[in-house]
Symmetry: none
Subunit: 506 residues, 2 copies
């Protein structure tokens, strides 16, 4: 059917050009976080809004609707899970989502997002929630509008409409159902650990680690696990992130604190995990879903796997610890490998999510997930966020943040309009553990490989099992195809118990 | 006339949005030179081409033609030199230029320009003109096409059509007529200097100047003359440039050589001069000609004024030399201010334009101007460029370049299609000297101010006399309005004689 082929090609070309345009917005965003002079913020907001508007215009072009009508037969012809059917499926999903969003709302979300992030930086620095509150109010209002516009799925809740943007097909109810056993296991494990009375000496991690050496060492780690610096870079930003600008150009950021080793190092491993995924997406498919990440949950599974399952394992440090001792000879003099490994796996309630241990991390996420749902469905107002945050934090962690920068102002997400995003972090932890168990089955003795500094077998297995598919499958289906099982929190619970019970003798 | 006002507003809004889009391309270009990972080059080319195409589409929108027809009466209503008339005039100029250029030619110029620059890099590195020749031939052909398409002005020559893109309203004949006396004065002065047998010891400038300290010191210099780092930044690139991304965001680059002090320092002063102009353009007028630089010649007058007229003056160094001695204590130990000042004002024929002294610099420009005219009107073929260059160089400098990378391959301009650009450098020198004389008359004892480190009076005078007007006036008219005289080379000739005759005792 040559006509159908022609239509398919036209659709792909259109999607590709739109993606190129969107990637210009990606660079604007990266630059905003890393390079932009303060007085350039307003113009940057205008640039971002214009690109977002143009992307939206292209994404809602009636041509797409016509093409999609013609291409409705592709699924039947090629099979529901064929690459072509996936391209059509995701094109339809994005087209429908976009056409429901008024251009004015899209531009306003972009404009407010940019300004609001700038004000968030100020508010966080000054520990001043009141400074940020009007921006949060405005953003919540816009996100509610967005949710109403795209529509609440049948039998679902308003939050589902936002969640779907980050984790296609996921629902609030499902996530609550997998979070419940995870919370239960976490609370038990945490209580056992706290009951053990055992604490590693993690003061060794807050000695002086010169920033330049941290940067070098983190780059070495990122390279070793397979992040390519000829197709990427590492810079400094207030909030670490990974930005895949386009084929051959993926950018990581981190922040350095001379007196806190884990922050930058594990942060870079984390972002490099995202980056390896981006770099592993098929370049030739850029612009269609086959060249895009499956979901944020899958994305996070890649970062958390390298950061935690690999990066905080004893075998990893069997390889890297001698190099760490050479790079930070003052701080690590006389510190044994096992002491260092115990320190980087200390478990204790702490204020900051991105610095949290593997166990309490998911509690941080669940807290945000809970508040976000309330903010979006109207049970909670922006002005009440600090109180709500602090009382939930007291309930889950047994302590109350002394100021907003250690509490509800710590994350950039809400200022940027990323509501519905947080739960994907814990989904990522679950996916990571389930994929890692499958990798162990497939590849044999990963621990022995890591101890020899061999990370390529795992990286290449991820390339072919996960990255190469792009968004051909929805996240749940992808996990099922790769691991043989539907996603559950079981592997993560097994991992947490098997890593931490021995460390704390519980 | 409310309708006319509405049309004018619509035009301005359209121009502004186009400028915002173009400025996204500006960021892509800056990033390409400073940050882009090597494997990202292909995607960056796709991004740049897409933005350029969209900008061209917007710039040739028939709506503009309709608006301009309605707005033809503005000049009569508001006066020929009113801001509104200027906006309409430049909008018409740009619209006519854009619509006369077939999109295919625009795309071909962009495509060949990108490839040709890459081949120029190779050719220059290998000192191999033959490698570059086919690209130069192709580019010259395209530029001839461009000139024919935009049209040769009445009574003018084909080169005028290209020149007009960089220096609106200028003509080849006029430039020849101002270059002639400048050449005569230059040759005389140069011959006198060479006859003096006097040479400063400029080996002091090639001692070790640690790169970090150079960066710090250059930033200090740029700040002192008024470049704002809250609305700009300084980075490293292979070729120094200044890129005004948009209001509040102007970016300078430089390159450092530990064993060559003047390169980075005066390079940064030069780019900061451009940057101060960009930062001084009225932000609210961004997008119309009132928020844009008057011409490349005026732009260059700002960079060359700060670099040379101010930056290489004795009073400037009366203020800065103690700081330089503190920053570079090894290199400048025991070196007297007067010795340093003489060294940075050494005069001698040299191969490379961008490293040339103030006197020989204009001879470099005139040589290129001469060859460019011949290339465009067909008197000279690309293959004959090396011979033509070398014989002209022998004639003007009394020596012949040993290879093409020190000769006709040294500049990026021709590979990038920037033909008609070079003469604006010497126009800039002339404008700078004429403006500087006017500033002296207006502001009093500038030398005494500089010696006290007071550069703001000059900077603010330039802000109000030059920058604030944007492109309201054509360059010649602007110079006349500010200095009371039409542009001539007289002030430049006076400056060169009064600076260099005493230094060389001639």
């Amino acid at each position: 059917m040559p006509d159908l082929q022609q239509t398919y090609t036209a659709l792909v070309e259109h999607l590709r050009e739109t993606a190129v345009l969107r990637s210009c917005g990606g660079l604007l965003g990266w630059d905003e976080q890393t390079c932009l002079p303060p007085e350039g913020a307003e113009h940057r907001a205008n640039q971002g809004a214009l690109i977002a508007g143009l992307v939206h215009e292209r994404s809602t072009s009636p041509k797409i609707g016509e093409w999609l009508t013609e291409l409705a037969v592709v699924e039947g012809l090629k099979g529901a899970e064929s690459p072509e059917a996936a391209v059509v499926r995701e094109a339809r999903r994005n087209y429908e989502r976009s056409t429901k969003l008024p251009r004015k709302l899209v531009e306003e979300l972009s404009r407010v997002g940019t300004l609001s992030q700038q004000e968030w930086v100020v508010a966080k620095k000054n520990k001043d929630f009141a400074h940020f509150e009007p921006w949060l109010t405005k953003m919540i209002g816009l996100k509610r509008e967005e949710a109403q516009a795209v529509g609440i799925p049948k039998g679902g809740v308003i939050y589902d409409a936002l969640l779907d943007d980050y984790e296609p097909g996921a629902s609030t109810a499902e996530i609550n159902s997998v979070f419940a056993p995870l919370r239960e296991a976490t609370v038990t494990l945490l209580s056992d650990i706290r009951g053990s009375g055992k604490r590693p000496d993690d003061s060794i991690l807050t000695r002086s680690y010169p920033v330049d050496a941290q940067g070098e060492f983190a780059k070495k780690g990122a390279s070793a696990i397979g992040f390519s610096f000829t197709a990427g870079r590492l810079d400094v930003s207030a909030h670490p992130f990974c930005s895949g600008i386009g084929p051959g150009d993926c950018r990581l950021t981190t922040r350095y604190n001379e007196f806190h080793f884990p922050g930058a190092f594990f942060g870079v491993l984390h972002e490099a995990g995202h980056g390896i995924y981006e770099q592993g997406l098929p370049r030739a498919q850029f612009g269609t879903c086959l060249g895009e990440a499956a979901s944020l949950g899958i994305h996070e599974s890649q970062s958390r796997m390298w950061e935690n399952l690999v990066g905080r394992s004893l075998p990893f440090w069997k390889h890297f610890y001698p190099q760490a001792q050479a790079a930070f000879s003052d701080a690590l003099k006389g510190v044994k490998l096992e002491e260092f490994h115990a320190a980087i796996n200390d478990v204790q309630p702490s204020w900051i999510r991105v610095e949290a241990d593997e166990i309490t991390y998911n509690l941080h996420i669940m807290l945000r997930f809970e508040l976000e749902q309330q903010l979006i469905d109207g049970r909670l107002e922006a002005r009440d966020v600090p109180d709500a945050w602090n009382s939930a934090f007291q309930r889950d962690f047994g302590m109350t943040p002394p100021d907003a920068s250690l509490g509800c102002l710590q994350d950039v997400h809400w200022s940027a309009g990323l509501l519905g995003y947080f739960p994907t972090y814990s989904l990522g932890n679950m996916f990571a553990a389930q994929l890692f168990e499958a990798a162990r089955e497939k590849l044999g003795d990963l621990d022995a490989m890591f101890a020899r500094g061999e990370f390529m077998p795992l990286k290449e297995w991820l390339n072919t099992s996960v990255h190469a598919h792009g968004q051909r499958y929805r996240s749940g289906r992808l996990i099922e195809l790769v691991t043989g099982k539907k996603p559950t929190p079981d592997a993560l619970i097994r991992h947490l118990n098997s890593r931490f019970r021995p460390l704390f003798g519980v």
